[in-house]
Structure formats: structure tokens, C-alpha cells
Symmetry: C2
């Protein structure tokens, strides 16, 4: 495998950084190639602005169109181009981050906002009566796999099907389906460590063992069975799931996972 | 009303900025006080790091604990303290942003990550057998109201109950419930403009009229009926919704809204 780890924690001695370090060691030890984008260590610029698009920035700025023109003309900044190249190089992507306010930290969201430009991650492919662009199962990053590795302050029951925070799978759906599956990446079930603020040195070996097992079985793990957009499950152009396809008792995000 | 508008778009001539400007004009015209945090114009620092906590930053950094100690001792940076003061001053909060990758732009997430510190927005109140901290309906910001005003590139059916992106209410749940309701703010139904990249000058008057109507009825609009945490609906400490309380046919995030 060629694995890109995108890591988002400010503290090199944090649990997140330990999981990132262990992933590098485990994957390299098994003969895989690994590259790491350690966003804090890189001083990653988190904020989209006109400077991202160089001479392709229009005035007034139009984020989607300008990012596409900058992509097309090679005018994107070197930091963004480097990340796009890493994504094209990798066959496997790991996002390592703490769940802050129920989603990724700003620095990682800024990686998505800046790197996933128009014509690279969206606005790809033809539109017709049977095909609404290459997305949700097709796209620039099709054929690759991704895994979200997340640390979570609260205990597991709070994120269970009846838990007050909402189910973890639903909280991660906008990342899994909306960010990763959108440009074509297959998404593996997440790796989650709950009660992260209370993890002690004595707890770490069990967490490390579970993480190593996931890392060493990445190639044989079944992805989440998200529905592909252009293969008959959705009306086009409304992109509503066709009647009768919903699994019994499922609503909302769960509709978009096959039984 | 005393309204704080937190605005997150890099282009002063964008649709988002026009909606922000119209909100200021409409609310001030109706005799209300308005303050604006225009995050791009302020050069808002989006990324949490040790510098946020000054002398309260420990080594290794512990984001939650250190942010709480910095809050307690007045060691937070001036930009963060100013935003906390604005939140305490306001009775109404409007978040104005474009939906980028199914959630808020990084700069706004960074406003949440940095301003919603431990002991201010979370880690508040006592824990007992009947009370799991002041949150989800109680907390520092209880009694205030918030509204999310969001522009969305895609058309409305894609965000409908069977739409491929998932229902908009579910995409916004981590913001509505997880960020705003968590420290006690009541959340009004969102204001959403779909097809935002295709809005022309000719379309704007209808959008403006709908927005003005929402702005002028903020005080009489019913909030989303999220369940309060500590008033009998949840088991403590698992915080699972008690059996029998689920509205018919609802699962996931929808469980946490009363009928």
C-alpha cells in the first residue's frame, strides 16, 4: 500500500500523535510506503482566500470557479498542489484527528476546503439524463480507500444509536460520504477511541493493539456500502433515492448505505 | 434584541456578505442593536494551539484542560475573550456562512474551536445521578437564541429527506445541537438559500424579502424542540434516550427532537 496519513493535532505527545506514529511504524514495518501530512507541524494555512488562486482569482472572488481555474492552469499554491499530488500518489488515506465539537478540527477542515478544489474533487465528469457528474463512488480519487481514526472525549454510549450526541456513524457521515466518498474514495469503518481525555499510559497497549489490527487488515476490510450515484439507485437530476430501495426502518443518512 | 452576527466569507461582494449586510440594516432599522464578527475581515486565527492559552498552556499541551485554566485565570488571548464577551452580551446569535463540504468553513470552525473553551461552553455545572453537567439546554449561554443562515451550492432536492446529500436538518444537527444547543442556546429553524452559485441579481430581491421576514420575526419564531438533557428524557450517565420516548419512525438525530 501507499498510505497518506493526514494528521491534525497540535501536541506531538498527544494520543492522536501517538496513534499517527504507531500507524507509520506499523505500516512501514509491514513493507508499505507511508507519507504524513502533519498539518500543525507544517503550519498548514487553514483558511480559503484569494491568495490560494494566484492569478486565477477573480474580483469579486468566486471560490468554486476560481479554484477550478487555478487547478486547470496550475495556479494553485505549492502547498495545495503538494497535497493533491499526495492524494493522487496514495491508494489509502488515513485521517487522524480528535473530534472537536462533533467534527474535525478547523485545521483539517481547512485542508479539505483548500485541497478539494473544483475540477479536482468536484465539478468533474459529464452531466446527462443518466449521469450527474463523477461523484459519490466515481471521481478523481476513485479506487482509493480511506479510514477515519478519531479520538473522542465522551464515552461510547453517548454516541450510540440512542445516545444524546447522535450515533457516531451519523456524525461522521458528512466526512465519510460528503468529503471522502464524494470524489470517489471507498470508506472503511472508522477507528474510534472513546474517553480520550482519560486515557492513561496503562490503557495505551490495548488501544495500540486494536489500532495495529486495523492497520494490518486495511486491505481486506470491507468498505461502508454507500450507494453509487449514477448506477440506478437515484432519480436524476433530483438525486432522491428511488422509492422502495430504503432498508426497513432506516431514514436520513442511513438511506444511503445498502443493506 | 442584541444580535451578534458571526460572518464567514472571504468576499465582501458575495451572496453571504449581502445577506450579512441586509441583516445589519434590517435589524438596526427595526431598532435592534447589532454587532458583527466578520471573521475574514478580522483576520481571525482559525487554529487552536498553545499560544491561545498563554501561561495556562501546559507542556505537553492539553487542549481541554488548558483552555479551561486559561478561561478561569483570564489568560485567553484578547481575540477569544472579545468573542466570549460578545456572546454574553447578545441575546440572539446569527451564523452566516456558505456550506462547504457539508459543514461550516474552516475559519468559522476555528471560531468555535477557540471561543467555545472548557468552563465557558463545556465542562460547566455539577455532575450527579440526575444531572450530567449544564449542557443541552442548560449552560453559560442558556436563554439566548441562534439562527444559522447558510448558502448552499446544490439544489434543494439533493438535501431533502431522500436526497443523496442527506437531509439538511441532519447535516446541520452537529452545529444546531452539538455546538449551539450544547452550551444552552435555543436554535431556530435555519435560513437556507439553495443553488447559491447560480443566484443572479434578478433573484436577489426574493431572497432578500424572505430573509427580512425571518429577521423581523426572530423573537416570535419557535425554536427546534431539542430535548433537554437533565429533565427526565435520558438515562444518566449513559445519556441514552429512555425507551418509549422515540417518535414513531424516527431514528438517529431525529430522536433528540420532541414531537
Amino acid at each position: 500500500m501507499k498510505t497518506l496519513i493526514v494528521h491534525a493535532h497540535p501536541e506531538p505527545q498527544s494520543l492522536n500523535s501517538s496513534l499517527k506514529d504507531l500507524a507509520v511504524k506499523t505500516l512501514e514495518g509491514a513493507g508499505h510506503e507511508v507519507r504524513v501530512s502533519d498539518l500543525y507541524a507544517m503550519g498548514w494555512k487553514a483558511v480559503v482566500d484569494a491568495a490560494d488562486y494566484g492569478p486565477a482569482a477573480s474580483s469579486p472572488l468566486r471560490v468554486a470557479l476560481d479554484s477550478g481555474r487555478a487547478f486547470d492552469t496550475g495556479a494553485l499554491t505549492a502547498d495545495v498542489r503538494a497535497e493533491q499530488e499526495k492524494l493522487l500518489w496514495a491508494d489509502t488515506v488515513i485521517l487522524q484527528f480528535p473530534l472537536w465539537w462533533y467534527t474535525m478540527p478547523a485545521i483539517l477542515k481547512g485542508w479539505v476546503d483548500r485541497v478539494f478544489t473544483y475540477h479536482f474533487a468536484y465539478g468533474v465528469g459529464e452531466h446527462s439524463d443518466t449521469h450527474y457528474g463523477d461523484r459519490f463512488g466515481e471521481g478523481t480519487l476513485a479506487g482509493k480507500r480511506a479510514l477515519v481514526s478519531v479520538t473522542i472525549g465522551g464515552p461510547e454510549p453517548h454516541y450510540s444509536p440512542r445516545g444524546i450526541n447522535g450515533p457516531l456513524d451519523d456524525l461522521l457521515f458528512p466526512i465519510h460520504h460528503g468529503i471522502l466518498y464524494y470524489p470517489g474514495i471507498d470508506v472503511l469503518p472508522p477507528f474510534a477511541v472513546h474517553g480520550a481525555d482519560r486515557v492513561t499510559d496503562a490503557d495505551f497497549p490495548d488501544i495500540a493493539k486494536a489500532w495495529e489490527e486495523r492497520l494490518l487488515t486495511l486491505e481486506s476490510t470491507e468498505p461502508i456500502a454507500f450507494r453509487r450515484q449514477n448506477f440506478g439507485d437515484y432519480e436524476i437530476p433530483s438525486l432522491r433515492l428511488k422509492e422502495g430501495l430504503e432498508p426497513a426502518g432506516r431514514t436520513g443518512f442511513g438511506l444511503h448505505v445498502r443493506d
